[in-house]
């Protein structure tokens, strides 16, 4: 037997009570883990984007288009290194529920502004030379079982073809792209803007967004201001921001998810804190006599304090660790299922570290008062021997 045996036996002496407390803490950390991962997705913290990349969209909102002529004018702004553009295709494969991250892009400049995309020379050559070529991210290819040379029809929930009114375009997969950083998604599907633009029934010569890189990230603000000033008071005013900020703003359209998650988790934790704290106080009060006995046996006050604190910490970890473990598995499964549209839904080391800190804090906060009381307990009073 050792102190841990004592702590464990004390904790489990009322199994139903301990079980319910552990379960409530388990639920709290399950919620924390899952919502933490969701919060992470919507905070934009997960998005790995080069610091020198800017995005220009219509000032009204990013669903409004911009004239393609803006591209050349932006290219002329001092400090701009490379410029590309894209249209959100709103694509799906076979069934509308099979949504894809599909962009119509200008191939050569897109690769110049996105150096993280790695493709072999043959694929690069094909993509630049073939109008119906489809460049597929490794993850997307894996998900749909596509391979190079496959003929793939992709449909749009926005656009249709002017020739026959069909929402589908046929593409040939000319290559797969990969990325070095495992945190960068390879779920996107890219094809030639020219192929799209010549056949689309409306919105020709317009683009959804301009992507540019600058010579130095320190110039981001200056370049952004210059671009927006250039199109001020025009029919299509622009808003330029870093790609990181753009993605963050995109996430923010769903509401202040981070704030909502924080409030939900906070409420859950305060409730758990109250319940566990109250139960610990009651549990220690029930054991007043036993604590008196332990002190009479020679257990120093500090050791009593540590035993009680150890109990509340063990309680917290007994519920918290399984909770965060189940959350990790659930988030992984969910992330896999929603992979295309909820990128970065994963349990990050930051969330795990916060969870561990919260478990420690919960154990400490709920245990310190009863532990302090137990430490200060007068033996004569505890034994009822006055």
């Amino acid at each position: 037997m050792n102190d841990f045996t004592l702590i464990r036996k004390n904790l489990t002496r009322r199994r139903l009570r301990a079980g319910l407390l552990i379960f409530s803490i388990f639920i709290a950390f399950l919620i924390f883990g899952m919502l933490g991962a969701v919060r992470h997705v919507f905070s934009g913290e997960n998005i790995k984007i080069a610091d020198d990349r800017l995005v220009t969209v219509n000032k009204i909102n990013f669903t409004q288009s911009l004239p393609v002529a803006y591209v050349e004018r932006i290219r002329a702004v001092p400090g701009v290194r490379a410029v590309s553009y894209a249209n959100w295709f709103g694509g799906y494969y076979q069934d509308p529920k099979n949504q894809l991250f599909t962009f119509a892009v200008e191939p050569e400049s897109w690769l110049a502004t996105h150096p993280e995309l790695q493709i072999d020379d043959a694929a690069r050559k094909d993509w630049l030379g073939r109008r119906d070529g489809l460049l597929v991210g490794e993850a997307a290819a894996l998900k749909w079982g596509w391979k190079i040379g496959d003929r793939v029809p992709l449909s749009s929930n926005i656009y249709s073809q002017k020739s026959n009114g069909s929402h589908s375009w046929d593409f040939t997969i000319i290559g797969l792209y990969t990325v070095a950083d495992p945190n960068v998604s390879t779920n996107a599907v890219l094809f030639n803007h020219a192929y799209f633009d010549e056949s689309v029934s409306f919105g020709r010569d317009t683009i959804g967004l301009v992507v540019l890189t600058v010579d130095n990230p320190a110039m981001n603000e200056q370049v952004g201001r210059a671009i927006d000033a250039m199109f001020a008071n025009s029919p299509a005013e622009t808003a330029t921001d870093t790609a990181k900020a753009f993605n963050k703003a995109f996430a923010a359209q769903f509401g202040d998810i981070a704030m909502i998650v924080t409030l939900v988790v906070g409420a859950a934790f305060i409730t758990i804190l109250m319940i566990v704290g109250n139960t610990m106080v009651m549990a220690i009060r029930e054991r007043t006599r036993e604590i008196g006995v332990m002190k009479s046996l020679g257990f120093p006050a500090r050791r009593i304090l540590l035993l009680v604190l150890g109990e509340s910490l063990l309680l917290s970890f007994a519920g918290g660790i399984p909770g965060i473990a189940v959350a990790t598995v659930s988030v992984g499964l969910l992330g896999h299922a929603l992979g295309d549209f909820v990128q970065g839904l994963t349990m990050t080391p930051g969330i795990l570290a916060t969870a561990l800190a919260l478990m420690t804090g919960l154990g400490f906060c709920t245990g310190i008062l009863p532990a302090w009381k137990a430490m200060r307990l007068d033996i004569v009073t505890a034994l009822g021997r006055s």
Binding site: M1, N2, D3, T5, L6, K9, N10, T12, R13, R289, E290, V293, M294, K295, S296, L297, G298, F299, P300, A301, R302, I379, V380, L383, R385, S386
Partner: protein, 230 residues
């Protein structure tokens, strides 16, 4: 070193209750020779339990000196007192006060957690203590699975497992039937005679007092008379 294991001189104990000060002892002198078995008797409120508390260093005197084995304990700090209790005193309570979630062996082992003994040595000491109280076959039973007498034997084993020279018993048979009480008192007698433990036992029961070698009657904070048990 003196032959007295317990030496009290001029001990006073007063409690403040509201505006009143209640005096339990005013100037108590008291000695117990090493190896003695003393029964403390007296009416309720006479100060028996308070005296036991003072001897066990779980309470402090208002005035006076308390020496156990020649060491003055009334001036020790709380931490020093806790350590001192662990090595010098074995408590035996009326209601056994065992930890309900621990087995008999684990209850007995409890005071040894305060020592530097390794688990093997602790286990050996626990086995010895349980053998002395004839409870080796109940080592793995929890208090709930034992009778009152067995629980009190476990409590005695816990009191002696760290080999303290002084055992303080507060009504150790107060919750037991006559036959079981006699068995427990016989164990105490054995500990006194064969292992040389000094025992101070508070009791209301004249039959229990007969097992002691000396009976002291305490009344209103003073020893009223002295008797020697047959």
């Amino acid at each position: 070193m003196s032959d007295n294991i317990i030496e009290l001189s001029g001990v006073a104990k007063r409690f403040v209750k509201g505006k009143d000060t209640i005096s339990i002892f005013d100037h108590l002198d008291f000695t117990v020779p090493r190896g003695d078995f003393v029964a403390l008797m007296g009416p309720s409120g006479s100060g028996k339990t308070t005296l036991l508390n003072l001897l066990g260093a779980i309470d402090r005197p208002t005035a006076g000196e308390i020496r156990i084995q020649g060491q003055r304990i009334d001036s020790l700090s709380e931490g020093e007192l806790a350590r001192w209790r662990g090595t010098h005193i074995g408590f035996i309570f009326q209601f056994y006060n065992l930890m309900p979630m621990l087995t008999a062996a684990q209850n007995v082992e409890l005071p040894l957690l305060l020592t530097r003994l390794d688990s093997r040595a602790r286990r050996r000491n626990v086995e010895t203590a349980l053998k002395i109280v004839e409870l080796a076959d109940r080592a793995n039973h929890t208090p709930r699975e034992m009778s009152g007498g067995q629980q009190q034997r476990t409590a005695i084993a816990r009191a002696i497992v760290s080999d303290p020279p002084l055992l303080l018993c507060d009504e150790p048979t107060g919750d037991l039937d006559r036959d079981t009480a006699n068995e427990i008192l016989s164990v105490l007698q054995l500990l006194n005679r064969d292992l040389g433990k000094t025992i101070v036992m508070v009791t209301h029961d004249p039959e229990a007092a007969k097992f002691a070698s000396r009976v002291l009657h305490l009344d209103k904070g003073r020893f009223a008379e002295r008797t020697t048990a047959p």
